[in-house]
């Protein structure tokens, strides 16, 4: 360690902001993908 960090809160906030950006970003990707597949499946079922 290089000694006590005087103001560490901005780094803590940045770390949690990055964490939630990644979690929410990936969650949105999964939701969009699931909706896309559901739509494609119902389309192919209605065509068959």
């Amino acid at each position: 360690m290089n000694g006590m960090v005087v103001n560490s809160w901005p780094y803590v906030i940045a770390a949690y902001a990055v964490t939630w950006a990644v979690i929410l970003g990936y969650t949105i990707r999964l939701i969009q993908m699931t909706r896309h597949h559901d739509a494609s499946r119902s389309h192919s079922v209605s065509n068959s």
Binding site: M1, N2, V5, Y11, V18, L30, H37, S44
Partner: protein, 250 residues
């Protein structure tokens, strides 16, 4: 949700062309999907607020509650890739390949997050955003291996070749995990020893465990939904293949 099942035609009777089915979302996954955000928000909020600042690091210690669980769960994801890759090569079950691909994608996301969080922690602690330390470098290599794995899957349309190549890279890539884990012992560079309940002040162990489990729930949910997405894509691919074969045979 209606169950979609695609059976292979007589013309394509390879072992990996066993029937694939997309079943409705299981109950345990629905429960875990709702439990995960509660666990993540609860564990982070409580332990960030409740834990006392570290003597040396001050409040920067709180980054450990996300950095370390992200790293551990990335390792678990790559262990999953390893198991499923071996299973694919042994059984030639295409579902194992899709499970491995799901694990690799989520593992790569978590490794990327680990690197970002380490960088944010390293700037005020070491004075640099990045350094070619053994732990950082081996983690970056692990990240690149799995990004390469995902890129490789896009290089061929032949599902059997794609699965075989991916399994080989998945197994070789997972062998890097023990190197990353042991790097702080083998090469004593800048990164401190592993943060684990055995190496931590008891004040912080409960917070680390709670957040690690919350991340584990998230890992399971992400891998399960990504697998379902890959399975749905594969089922549709087969429907197109079967339709093309039927047209050709007429």
């Amino acid at each position: 949700m209606a169950e979609t099942t695609v059976r292979d035609s007589a013309a394509t009777s390879r072992a990996s062309y066993a029937p694939l089915a997309l079943s409705p979302v299981p109950r345990w996954l629905t429960v875990l999907t709702w439990l995960t955000p509660v666990a993540l928000i609860g564990a982070q909020a409580y332990f960030v607020m409740a834990s006392a600042p570290d003597r040396d690091m001050g409040h920067l210690q709180k980054i450990m509650y996300v950095h370390v669980p992200a790293a551990w769960n990335a390792f678990l994801a790559f262990l999953w890739v390893f198991i499923q890759s071996v299973r694919y090569l042994w059984k030639r079950d295409e579902r194992a390949d899709l499970q491995a691909a799901a694990g690799a994608e989520v593992g790569a996301v978590l490794t990327g997050l680990t690197l970002l969080l380490g960088s944010i922690w390293g700037r005020p602690t070491w004075g640099v955003w990045w350094t070619w330390d053994a732990r950082l470098t081996s983690t970056a290599v692990l990240f690149l291996v799995y990004v390469g794995y995902l890129a490789l899957r896009g290089l061929t349309d032949d599902p059997e070749r794609r699965a075989r190549w991916s399994a080989a890279v998945g197994i070789l890539g997972a062998l890097n995990v023990p190197i990353v884990y042991m790097s702080v012992k083998w090469w004593r560079t800048l990164h401190q020893m592993q943060s684990a309940p055995s190496t931590l002040d008891p004040t912080y162990t409960m917070g680390l465990r709670a957040n690690a489990f919350a991340f584990l729930f998230m890992l399971i949910v992400f891998v399960a939904y990504r697998y379902r997405g890959l399975l749905a894509e594969r089922v549709m691919e087969r429907q197109l293949d079967d339709a093309a074969l039927t047209r050709r045979s007429r």
